[in-house]
Amino acid sequence: MRAKWLCLVALTAAVAGCGQGRAIFDIDVFSFLKATNADTLPYVGPLPPGVPDTIPVQTIKSLGIGSSSIVDTVRLFGSVDFVNRNGTGSVTFQVYFDTAKSAVYTGTPAFSVSGPVTPGVTTTSPFDIPDLPTALKPLFLASTVYVGIRASATGTIAGTAKLTALRARIVIQDKLF
């Protein structure tokens, strides 16, 4: 229902307004993740058996415009803090998207952010992905998108990866106009 309503408002307005214009969606993904405490993920290296390095897959209702629309660009930008308790090494922070919940962590991450960490120091790693690979763009046309986050540690370290911002700027060139 959420997607339908959003889509309805979006396209009604887009149709009303656009000539040759585009529909641009600026989605604060972080606000959805933070609400379920999925913005924070502990990391440990080496990873003990049975300890997950991912968050439970999160569901985000997306635009649901339909497969016949064309996503021009999907820009992702934000920042992640690596709050390192001990050890020296590096952490890789990966974000996954998929339209099938079971396939979220089996696919290729949409993007990765890596940063060296040292004991007792918080490392801030901003990121700005200008455009996702073409194969991932159609995901954002679906009404439901599943999101996953993985934090992988290299070295003997322990800490917490805290997402502080994640926004998606999706440009739809639907040939509506």
């Binding site: 307005a13 009303a16 214009g21 585009r22």
Partner: protein, 446 residues
């Protein structure tokens, strides 16, 4: 999903743009278009809305009025050239990525009878949506000005047939009548959200008022039109008609429809709930006929170069429907419908229409003006024609129901009993606040 959304969008747009569209007309006479829509002679709106004009001589010599006008539909040729395979044209297929709703709406609002020599530009700005778990903001940019602030809709009152016979000014016949009225008005919340880019609020209803009526039937009619004083060169004419309206069927619905946001805009499992309520009343064909009495009156005065007329239609036309069913419907998560009453009496009222016209003819020059109100605001036309030998030059201005000024100009060439006319007419019935220009062409037989 996409079809559903685009369909909804198109409905909103067509309805939203209908107000200006209703202010225009589908005129098949390039002469009239060249004069800004002005009706001269017996053509156009005069005889329809002023019963006295049935008795006024046509006087072709006075207004250069042809016996027959045949439109030359250059616009159709252009349209078919641009869209040779209409059934498979992706621009008209909602399932296609090439579907173009702007083109569809503009085609509906500007039927391609005549050539569109200047298309009204549509806004080309991007539309931005800012979305968060607890926020939603829409920025339509320049396109926001297209969101209607006032009530908008379509309405009309027509008489599709009127057979009968007459003698010495009296006439007895049966007139078909149809009245339709569709109105929308966005509420302040939705208006602020779409037009002023106000962020969505918690637990708030965003919707619009909706009203629709359609009714029709026939009316045995007795009318009279005749010259009260004067002679064939000039005089005072009066006309009137008494109708006994018999309603075959009608339906009416009033209500509001929209959405209610949740406590958190995108937080819950169902943060936005469709919400609507209507009261529907109808009398189906086969039920007892509706009935009512109404009338038309009109006068016309012709004196030398001056012609003045006033006509009023459907005076007191209140239709009583003795066998009406009333249902209420409520939607909130699921549909709930409840019969309110059945076999009850309800009433509807036909809108009063009026026309006032003035024409002044001296030599080969004719000037005129008229005001026409069909129940949704007045339309004013002022125009004139200058005939010089074989040629005619025309011009005019009009104020449409949106109170916007439109312009017409054109000319004609006449060879004996045959004439070729061209008229240009500005319009704003596109999805734009800028004017487009239509070129009309027609053949006239004198």
């Amino acid at each position: 999903m996409r079809t559903f959304v685009l369909g909804f969008g198109l409905v909103v747009l067509v309805a939203g743009a209908a107000a200006p569209a209703a202010a225009q007309w589908l005129v098949t006479d390039a002469r009239r278009i060249g004069m800004g829509g002005l009706s001269l002679g017996r053509a156009g709106s005069l005889e329809r809305y002023n019963p006295a004009y049935r008795a006024v001589d046509a006087r072709a010599d006075r207004h250069g009025q042809p016996k027959v006008t045949i439109p030359i539909p250059l616009g159709i040729i252009q349209f078919l050239h641009d869209h040779p395979h209409l059934s498979s044209d992706p621009a008209f297929d909602p399932k296609s990525t090439g579907f173009n709703p702007i083109l569809v709406v503009n085609t509906i609002l500007n039927l391609p009878l005549y050539l569109e020599v200047k298309k009204a530009p549509t806004p080309t700005n991007d539309v931005a949506f800012t979305i968060g778990r607890d926020s939603l903001l829409v920025n339509l940019g320049a396109a926001a000005q297209l969101v209607p602030e006032d009530q908008f809709g379509i309405s009309g009152s027509s008489r599709p047939f009127s057979p009968g016979f007459g003698f010495k000014g009296f006439r007895v016949g049966v007139m078909g009548w149809i009245h339709d009225d569709v109105e929308f008005q966005l509420d302040d919340n939705l208006l602020g959200f779409l037009r002023d880019s106000q962020p969505a609020q918690h637990n708030t209803f965003y919707g619009s008022f909706v009203h629709g009526t359609v009714e029709g039937g026939f009316a045995p009619t007795v009318s009279y039109a005749g010259r009260i004083v004067g002679d064939s060169a000039g005089g005072f004419y009066a006309g009137g008609a008494l109708h006994y309206y018999l309603g075959v069927g009608y339906g009416r619905t009033d209500g509001d429809a929209g959405f209610i946001t949740g406590g958190t805009i995108f937080g819950g499992s169902n943060p936005v709930t469709p919400d609507g309520r209507t009261l529907t009343q109808y009398s189906k064909p086969g039920n007892s006929l509706g009935h009512g009495i109404g009338g038309d009156i009109g006068v016309a005065w012709v004196s030398g170069p001056v012609e003045i007329g006033v006509g009023v239609n459907d005076i007191g036309a209140t239709i009583t429907w003795p066998d009406t069913r009333l249902d209420s419907a409520f939607y909130h998560d699921s549909t709930y419908s409840k019969p309110v009453a059945n076999h009850v009496e309800t009433k509807t009222k036909l809108p009063v229409s009026y026309i006032a016209n003035l024409a002044y003819t001296v030599g080969n020059t004719t000037l005129g003006a008229d005001v026409l109100n069909t129940g949704r605001g007045s339309v004013v036309h002022i125009g004139g024609e200058q005939r010089v030998g074989l040629f005619a030059v025309r011009g005019g201005v009009a104020r449409d129901q949106r109170k916007r000024i439109e312009f017409g100009f054109g000319g004609g060439l006449r060879f004996g009993g045959l004439g070729l006319d061209v008229g240009f007419w500005t319009h704003t019935n596109s999805l734009s606040n800028e004017r487009g220009i239509t070129m009309a062409t027609s053949l006239s037989i004198y």
